[in-house]
Amino acid sequence: MSGWRHPTLGQIDRDRHLRFTFDGEGHTGYAGDTLASALLASGTRVLGRSFKYHRPRGLWGLGGEEPNALFDVGHGGISTPNCRATLTPLRDGMDLRAVNTRKAARDPLGLLDLAQRFLPAGFYYKTFMAGGWMRWEPMIRRMAGLGRLDPSNRPSGDMPQRNARCDLLVIGAGPAGLAAARAAAGHGATVWLLDEAGAPGGTLRWRGGEIEGGPWQDFVADTVQKVEAAGGRVLTDTTLWGAFDHGLFAAWQRGARDFHWRIRAAKVVLAAGAIERPLWFANNDLPGVMSAEAALHHLVLYGAVAGRRIVLATGNDGSYPVAAALAEAGCHVTLLDAREDTPAAPEGVEVRRGVAIDAARGTRSLGAVRAGGQHIDADTALVSGGYTPSVHLHCQTGGKLDWDVDRDALIPRPGTSPLIPAGAANGTFGLNAALAEGHAAGGGMGSAPNAAGATWALAPMRPDPKGRGRVWIDPQNDVTLKDVKLAAQEGYRSVEHLKRYTTLGMATDQGRSSNFAGLAAMAALTGRTIPETGTTTYRPPFTPIPLTALGGMRRGALFNPLKRLALEPQHAALGATFGEYGGWRRPAKYSDTQAEAKGARETFGLYDASPLGKIEVIGPGAAELLDFCGYVAMSTLKPGRARYGFMLGENGVVADDGVTLRLDDNRFILSASSSHVDHVRLILEEARQDRFDPSRVFVHDVTAQWVTLSVSGPQARTALETAGMPDDVTALRHMQVVETRWTQVPLRAARVSFTGDACWELSVPARHAPGLMTVLEGAREALGGHWIGLEALMILRAEKGYILIGKDTDGITMPQDLGWGRPRERRQDEYFGRRALFTPEAMREDRRQLVGLDCDGAPLPTGAHLVPLDGPARSLGFVTSSYHSPTLNRSVALALVDAGLDRMGDTLGVFHLGQHRTARICAPCAFDPEGTRLAD
C-alpha cells in the first residue's frame, strides 16, 4: 500500500463517492476518476500479471500507453474485457477483475517465474514437439489470452459513422495543437481539433504554465472559442486511430454515444505529443516503478499520489517539475539525474547527480532501489528515460523518420508525409518551443503565443546490453533484455524478426513504451546505429479501437441490404413465407410447395417475377450491340417476338441466360437473372462504349421501375380474361410480346415461360402493381388458381429441364455443354466469348455436360456426385437440381456429368456422404418434352 489521495489536489468531484470492487475487494473513488487513478489513490499496487511469467504488474503510465492495468469491467450485468484502466472512467458499482489471473495479488501461476530461465524468447519453437503441438496447445491456450469474453454481452451495432471535411485537422490538443488551431482559426479556417483525453490542454493540464502572460486555461478556452467561432469543432475523448489513402483519417469519439468519424482535411497538423520512455535496470517491472509523467498526471488531475517515499530517476529537465510537485504534495523525493549538469534542485528535493538506478528491490512491489552503489528505501520509483515522439500517423501516411541526435529521437523527415508535425511529436520538447512550432504549422503570421520555459535539455538514456539482472523491455509480454540478446545471438536481427521472435511490442499497448528500447538494444548488440537497425512498420490503429466502431451500423438488415418487392406487403397478406434469393427477398411459398407446383400444372399459377432483370437496349445500334454481346443473334428477331439466349464471358463461360424481347426495330428488352443484372448491364455498356458508336445505342436498366406478375398454366388465358386483360394480351402466342394498355395503365405482356406451361408475363409500372395484383387475385379466387413461391417455381422449371445459371451451371460451363452448340458452329460474326469456345479444352467431346437423371425412390440429394458403377470411386459430375415432381409423381433431377451426352441411358452410381444409389442418365426435360403445353 503506497499510493494515496491528496486532500485537495485534483479535478475530481469529492462529493460524489463511487463504490467499486477490484478482484472482489471493495474500494471507493470519486466522480471524475479513471479506474487507474481510483486504484492508485486506494493504495492498490498489484493491478495485474504479466502475460508469460505472471509477474506482478502495477500501474505504469497514462492514456493509451498503459501496458499493465487492463481489467475485465463488469457493469450493469455484463462485462467487457481488456479495458484500459487509464482510459476508462470510473462508474458506481463497477466490478473490476485483473485479466489473465484469478487474482492479481495472489496468482499461483506466479511460480512460473521460477522457471523463467527455461522459458526464454521463442522457447516454444524449440519444444512442445513430442506427440505433436495439439497435445500441449489446450494448456497453452488456457494460460494465454488476457480478459474473458462475456457471452451475454452483445453490443448493439448502432455506432454512427459520420463523414466530415475541414480546412485543417489538428491531431492533439496540447500546446502545439492549440497554437496551430488558434492560428488557422484566426484566418477563418474551419479547424477540427481532436484529442484523446477528456479535455483539451494536453500536458498543460498537469504541467500547467502561463501563456501570453495568463493562465493556460484562458489560452485553451480562448482557442476553443476561436475554433468554434470559425465554424470548427473541438472533439475530446476522440482517438484519431488511422490514416488512409487520399487523405482520409478515421477517429473514434467516446461519449454517451460513441461515433466513428471519417475526416478529410485540406491540411493536417500532427501534434500528438510524445510518450515517456522507461529506464532499464534490474527488476524494472516491479509494481511501484512508474512513469514520472504519469505520476504528475495522476497527481494533478486526480489527486492520486503515486507514493510517499519516491525516487525519481531521469536524464532530462522534464522531470524536475514532477519532483517539485510531488515534494510540494508532501512526498519525500530523491531525484537521481544521470547527468552531472542539471537544473537546480527544486525545493524540498534532494538531487543526486551522475547517478542512475542499477536495480529495483522488492518481491511483489518496490521496497528500495540500488543506485550508484547505494541502497535507497523507496516505495515508488518514478522514471523518465526521455521521450519518444508519437510519429505513428506520420508513418502511416508513408512518412519517413530521421534520427535527431539533439532531440534523441526519431522524428518526421520533412516532406515525406502530408502531415505537418509540431511540438513533442516532432521532438520539440518545452512549452514555448511547442507553441512556436504549432503556430507556424497552423499557418500563423506574426509572433507565436509566448510562454516561459526553455526547451528541455536531455541526455540519451539507453538499456545497457551488459547490464546485470532481469531488465524488462516489454512488461506486458515479458520481453527482457536477455530475450533481445538471445534474438541477436540466434540471428533474428532484423527489427521485424526481433518483434516476431520475442513478441516485443506486440502487446496491447502496441509497444508504445517498449519499441524504442528494443530497437536501441538491438542496435547496441549488433554494432549498428538506430537508423541502421530500422523500425517496424507503423499501421493503424494507433490505439486499439472497438470493432463496433468499424462495424458501424452495417448490421442485420443494413448488412448487404436486401432488395424488396414492391408487392411484399400483399404477398405477406397472402401468407407468404419469404426467403433470400440472389439478393432479393421473395416469397418462398404460400402454403405447401408440392401443392403449389401441382396446382399450377392443373389450373394456373401466379408468381411475382419482378426481380427478373429488365434491361432496355434502345437505338439504331441496338441489334448490332446485342448480337455482339450475346451468344444467340438477336438482329434476326422480328418485332413483337421473343428469343431465348445466353450471355457469355470472354472466357466462353455462360454468364447468364434469358429471353430478349424485340418491341420494335430499335428497341429491345433483355431479361437477365435477378442476381446478374448489374453484370449483364456492364457487359453491354463496355461494348457500347468501347466498340460501338455510343450515340446510336443506349442501355438502361429498368428492373426496379416495372413490376412483373406471371400467369402460367393450362387455365392461364382464362385467368387473364377473367382479370379483364385486353384482347391483344390474351391473344398472344408463345414467344410473342405486346405493348398495350390495361385500363389506362401501360402494360407489357410477353408469352415467355419458365414453367413449361403457357405463361404470360405482365409488366406494369411499379406504382400500378397493386391494381394488377388485385385483379389477378380476383381471377385466382374465382377460378381456383394458385400463388406459387420460388420453391414451387424451381420444381416446375426443373421438370422441364430449364436451368438456373450458377446452380445448374458452374464457372466452366460453356453453351455447348448445355446442348446449345449451334451458334458456336454456325455464327461467322464476332461475338463476346467466341474465341474461348475453341480452345483445346473447349473442343473436348467429353466435357461436363448438362443431363437429366432418372431414379427410383426419394429425390437425389443436390450436391451428390455421380460415380462409376465399378472400379475406384471418382467424381464424374454432380447433381445440380433435384426435386420430387408432384405432377410426374417421381423424382426429377439435373446434373453436370463428364461426357454426359454420350452416357444417355447409362446407369451411374450416385455418391452422397458415404451412401450409394444409382440413377439413369436421361434428357434434361422430364415433362412434356414435345412442348405441347407451350403451344396453346
Binding site: 489513402d245 487520399h246 508513408g398 456492364l682 463496355e686 462504349q689 467466341r834
Partner: protein
Amino acid sequence: MQIFPCPFCGPRDETEFHFAAEAGKHRPEPAPEVTDTAWSDYLYGADAPKGRAREVWVHLTCGEFLLLTRDTVTREVLDAAALPGRGEAAT
C-alpha cells in the same frame, strides 16, 4: 478510401468504381485467325506495373468507362479521362 475522379461526375469514392482492364489491350479478331496463346494473352495477360499504370475502370453509378492513370504503389491518381471519343460528348 481512395477518391477517383469520374470525368462525367467528378470525384467519387473508390467503392463506386470497378476495375475493368489494363488499358491498351486490343481484342484480337476474327476468332478463327487468333491463336490460343494470343487469345489467352488478351484475356489474362497483365503487366501489373509497379508504379504508373493506365487502366480502364467503370464508374458503376453512371455506367461510364474511363481511363485512369495512377500509381499502384503510392495510390496517387495522376489522370482520369473519358474513353477516346467520349469526352466531347460529355462536354
